[in-house]
């Protein structure tokens, strides 16, 4: 049996294609069963906004292309020709590596983002419900979850901020701890402030106030975030109520000056305040950062922080890749050892059957034996078959573990052993 993984992701295919190929959650059970009827022994479908992947365990001689082509048959408006150039196909070790990398978010658009592990677990549960998870996928996926966890604990992969707005959220956390029950004032409704606001909301901020020189834009944005509009002229009076200020208005001068902030901090009785100035030209007087308990960061500060994080994240990702390599090697050895297990078992059974048969034939001629003699005959015959089996068994095990480093195809040794000892085919587990 071999493990095959095929799919497209955010790097290989544009969103137009991804969205066409994507499976809705309720379509997956039928698709899994479909894969099974078309010859896949085991199957799993992972479909997220950044990737669509199919993992399957197939018989050694089953061509994976055939399976995928069939899968596409059901997707109207998609031709094999259109998908093919964007598709990647991995087998065995490469497929395991890919799954490990996906699970630990090394293959994600934002490396280290935590959602993908949950999505993969969801896909696994869904496939298990449909009964399309067997030993191969089960072993690989459970291992993938462990590897992802290991990478998360042993490296700092999940800890860094990548984008500017995410850096802002991280900083807010460094200041306030939890962002629960914190209020945000957005001065100037624009794309940048929108991104930051979205991140802050996700991080637990409770209330968003929006102010803009043109009230309509403020209203739109406030609606999008279920926030409140503050009239532009009135925002200085509301400053003391908010903990975080995001300024990104197109006004060419400072809208928040040092004197104003000094008053605000006094009014807040020294409760810390975080000011994010992502406007160019800047909206908040830089001197504000000199006020105790006011923390002002402009776009350059945030960018520098985000870049430094990207740098460390690259280093961290390298550590994680090393863990993946190590884990793939470890799992491969285990899987290969399992490949020879059926042969070893049937070899032992075969020899035991011969022993029983011969013993039955000659036992009559030995006459009556004392229990000690009885035991000696048992030991003698068993000893002979064990000695005979020892050579082939240890040779097969050694070969299985060493494969990949030596280029002797393992299949040949196994079939040679099977032929030599006349082993019958056992149904594979």
């Amino acid at each position: 049996m071999k493990l095959v993984l095929a799919g497209i992701n955010h790097r290989t295919a544009p969103v137009q294609l991804r969205e066409k190929l994507a499976f809705r959650s309720e379509e997956i059970p039928a698709a899994l069963l479909d894969l099974q009827t078309r010859g896949a022994k085991e199957a799993l479908i992972l479909s997220t906004c950044n990737r669509v992947e199919v993992a399957a365990a197939l018989a050694e001689d089953f061509p994976p292309d055939c399976l995928l082509e069939n899968l596409l048959d059901n997707r109207h408006d998609l031709s094999w020709e259109a998908v093919r150039p964007h598709l990647y196909l991995y087998e065995d070790a490469a497929a395991i590596r890919h799954l490990f990398r996906v699970a630990s978010s090394l293959d994600s658009m934002i490396v280290g983002e935590p959602q993908i592990l949950g999505q993969l677990k969801g896909a696994y549960l869904q496939a298990r419900e449909q009964g399309t998870i067997g030993t191969v996928l089960d072993t690989v996926l459970t291992r993938a979850f462990t590897v992802a966890k290991r990478i998360r604990t042993e490296t700092d992969i999940g800890q860094n901020a990548v984008s500017v707005s995410y850096a802002a959220v991280e900083l807010a956390r460094e200041i306030f701890g939890s962002l629960n029950r914190k209020r945000v004032l957005i001065i100037g409704a624009g794309k940048m402030s929108e991104g930051a606001a979205r991140h802050l909301l996700r991080a637990g901020v409770t209330e968003i106030l929006v102010t803009n020189r043109t009230p309509q834009r403020a209203k739109q944005m406030a609606e999008a975030f279920r926030g409140t509009v503050v009239p532009y002229e009135a925002f200085p009076q509301r400053l003391a109520e908010v903990d975080i200020v995001i300024a990104s208005s197109g006004v060419p001068n400072y809208v928040i000056k040092r004197d104003l902030m000094q008053q605000v901090i006094e009014e807040r009785r020294n409760e810390p305040m975080f000011l994010i100035d992502i406007a160019v030209p800047r909206n908040i007087e830089p001197e504000v950062n000199r006020i105790e308990h006011a923390f002002l960061y402009d776009i350059d500060d945030l960018q520098r922080l985000a870049e430094r994080n990207l740098q460390t994240r690259r280093e961290v990702a390298q550590q994680a890749e090393n863990i993946v390599t190590e884990e793939v090697a470890r799992l491969e050895v285990r899987l290969r050892a399992r490949d020879v297990t059926p042969t070893i078992l049937s070899l032992q059974e075969q020899l035991e059957a011969i022993r029983q048969e011969v013993l039955l034939r000659y036992r009559g001629r030995l006459g009556s034996l004392t229990p000690e003699q009885e035991e000696a005959v048992e030991g003698l015959t068993r000893g002979i078959i064990n000695k005979i089996a020892h050579g082939p068994i240890s040779e097969m095990r050694r070969h299985a573990a060493a494969q990949g480093t030596e280029d002797a195809p393992q299949g040949e040794l196994i079939s040679a052993v099977r032929r030599m000892f006349r082993l019958r085919d056992r149904p594979s587990s």
Binding site: E174, S178, N270, R308
Partner: protein
């Protein structure tokens, strides 16, 4: 007779102290009215005691430290009640209730009481005093360490050199909560420790206790601590200023502790 009134007044004032401690933890002002009533009743009895003393001795009771302390406490209490009736500023109570209580309490120790009823009680009393004070110190150390962390974290955030990936300091908000809680807990324990300590010294040394420099320093530390708590609550002091205060109070506490190193020998007497 006047000392009985004075002691009752001190007991009533202690309700105010209790209110202040409750306010520290739950920011609840619900108990302010009962505390104010007890405080007012205390002030009335205090006045009765002062008038009685005046009639007994024939002059204003400012003969010695105890009488002065008591009179001063009464004046503060009266002033507070007057201010409150005009401006309704309850927040001063958090600071003044404990002060008035302590000064009256000190004033009420003018006449020595009979010694300990049993040595077990004496030892148990000393044990309570030492344990509460030590718990208070432990909380104070936590507050001081958290304050130093606060300063470091604040400096990193200000200098914009903060790297969330390598930063192992807790967020400012968390540190601030730790400082508040540790300081409040420390204050409660040190206050209990102070009351028990003063009573112990009073019973042990009679009227001479007030001249004991160890105790004077201990009281000074307590007042310093009270000032710190009060500034934090009313003026919202945090960051640099509260960190320095916390470290200074800790320094005072260490000095107090050093002066008490001989305490074991007293215990074993």
């Amino acid at each position: 007779m006047s000392v009985i009134w004075l002691r009752t007044a001190a007991a009533l004032y202690s309700c105010g102290l209790l209110y202040a401690l409750i306010y520290l933890f739950w920011k609840s002002t619900k108990l302010f009215t009962p505390a104010l009533i007890a405080f007012g009743a205390g002030a009335v009895l205090h006045l009765v005691s002062l008038v009685e003393l005046r009639l007994e001795t024939g002059h204003l009771p400012i003969n010695n430290f105890y009488e002065t302390s008591s009179l001063c406490a009464f004046l503060i209490a009266a002033l507070f009640l007057l201010l409150y009736s005009y401006y309704r500023v309850a927040i001063f109570g958090v600071c003044l209730f404990p002060v008035v209580f302590f000064m009256t309490f000190i004033g009420s120790t003018e006449f020595p009481v009979t010694a300990w009823s049993s040595p077990q009680l004496r030892n148990a009393w000393l044990l309570v005093h030492i344990t509460t004070v030590l718990i208070g110190y432990a909380a104070l150390i936590v507050a001081a360490v958290a304050s130093v962390y606060y300063l470091l974290q604040e400096r990193q955030l200000k200098s914009k050199k903060l790297d969330p990936a390598s930063n192992r300091l807790p967020p400012l908000g968390t540190l601030d909560r730790i400082i508040t809680q540790a300081m409040n807990a420390g204050f409660v324990f040190i206050t209990i420790g102070t009351v028990t300590g003063v009573i112990w010294a009073f019973i042990e040394n009679g009227t001479k206790w007030i001249f004991n420099p160890q105790i004077a320093f201990f009281l000074f530390t307590w007042v310093f601590y009270l000032a710190m708590i009060f500034l934090r609550i009313t003026a919202g002091w945090r960051g640099r200023r509260i960190a320095w205060l916390a470290v200074s109070v800790l320094g005072c506490s260490i000095i107090t502790w050093v002066t008490h190193l001989g305490i074991r020998s007293i215990w074993l007497q």
